[in-house]
């Protein structure tokens, strides 16, 4: 009570703080956490979501209704872009069984960066399918783990089967400038689509 005058907000949203978010998806070990850590202004934090899911039928020989809980961890970072806008970056597991988490993450997201690992390109398919199906603007960022950009982008584009309209770029997740460029690319892409009226 002694501090009643120290907080002028008094139950109303006084300042117009605008949080925005970009999802960083990709297969296990594709560099999502590294990507977030390369540019976040705070040490990336980890939060967990616990979900109750129907257990796999193959595990359920008795056909009784059993449930299993799954804990999904996501790493996130944040960057104050302006006085009012804070960007949150969410790195999230790319497996299909974690779609429940993606639904929450994608809600209101500006767009997504799908990290592709050239050694395991197939691992990013679930993420690509997901964002395509939900009309979330995304770019594919190819993390060249061998340090050598051996495959041209055109070849990788063909391999992951994304149309020319989806921007693709190389991105060393450890390199801040590469990460920045990936973010610029996805925001530009989202803005272009917004201007073209693709996203209602």
């Amino acid at each position: 009570m002694a501090f009643a005058t120290s907080d002028p907000t008094a139950g109303t949203a006084r300042r117009n703080k605008i949080p925005v978010k970009i999802v960083v998806a990709g297969g296990f070990g594709a560099g999502k956490s590294t990507f977030v850590g390369s540019i976040s202004e705070i040490e990336p934090l980890r939060s967990e979501a616990v979900m109750t899911t129907a257990s796999d039928q193959l595990d359920d020989l008795t056909h009784t209704a059993t449930k299993a809980t799954t804990t999904v961890a996501m790493d996130f970072g944040r960057i104050a872009l302006t006085e009012e806008i804070t960007l949150y970056l969410f790195g999230t597991p790319g497996q299909e069984r974690f779609h429940f988490m993606w639904n929450e993450l994608s809600r209101g997201a500006i767009g997504a960066v799908v990290l592709a690992d050239t050694r395991r390109l197939g691992d990013c398919f679930p993420a690509i399918d997901y964002f395509e199906a939900r009309n979330v603007p995304f770019v594919v960022a190819v993390n060249p783990f061998d340090g050598v950009r051996t495959h041209p982008i055109a070849t990788i584009r063909e391999a992951v089967q994304v149309p020319e309209s989806v921007p693709m770029l190389f991105c060393d997740a450890r390199a801040r400038l590469d990460v920045k460029l990936a973010l610029v690319t996805v925001v530009e892409h989202a803005l272009n689509r917004q201007r073209a009226g693709a996203r209602v």
Binding site: F3, T9, G11, T82, I85, T86, V184
Partner: protein
């Protein structure tokens, strides 16, 4: 403060010997879902990135809260995203959301709802300028 938080969070949440129902004394020795009485589906309109902030009325209620709600109030003296509260509290998102929703009901915290003073296009333009300047 963070060390203190870790100590609190580690002080029973992962303790397998805990039966999850002893919440009368300190309120610490309980499982995450015991904190919320098993409710996990309230406050779903509080997004991961929603900014939470203690209100002027928070201090009046502070003494009545158990540690986890008190910790939330401590964390959100300045606006903080729900997901960051969850991470710093070391409590799952769903549980954090329930705690925050209860605090909103009490008038102890507010959830900032950005005013729609600009178009989405103009917001994206500002974001683009922002990331270009990183």
């Amino acid at each position: 403060m963070i060390d203190d938080l870790d100590q609190l969070a580690g002080n029973g949440l992962d303790d397998p010997s805990d039966d999850g129902f002893d919440e009368d004394s300190t309120g610490r020795f309980i499982r995450p879902y015991a904190m919320t009485g098993g409710r996990t589906e309230v406050g779903t309109d509080i997004h991961l990135e929603s900014q939470i902030q203690a209100s002027a009325r928070a201090s009046a209620h502070l003494g009545a809260y158990r540690w986890e709600a008190a910790r939330v109030l401590d964390l959100v003296q300045s606006p903080m995203a729900l997901v960051e509260v969850s991470a710093r509290l070391d409590v799952p998102i769903g549980v954090t959301r329930v705690i925050v929703a209860d605090l909103v009901k009490d008038g102890s915290v507010i959830v900032h709802v950005p005013e729609q003073t600009q178009s989405f296009t103009s917001l994206l333009e500002k974001v683009l300028d922002g990331v270009r300047n990183l």
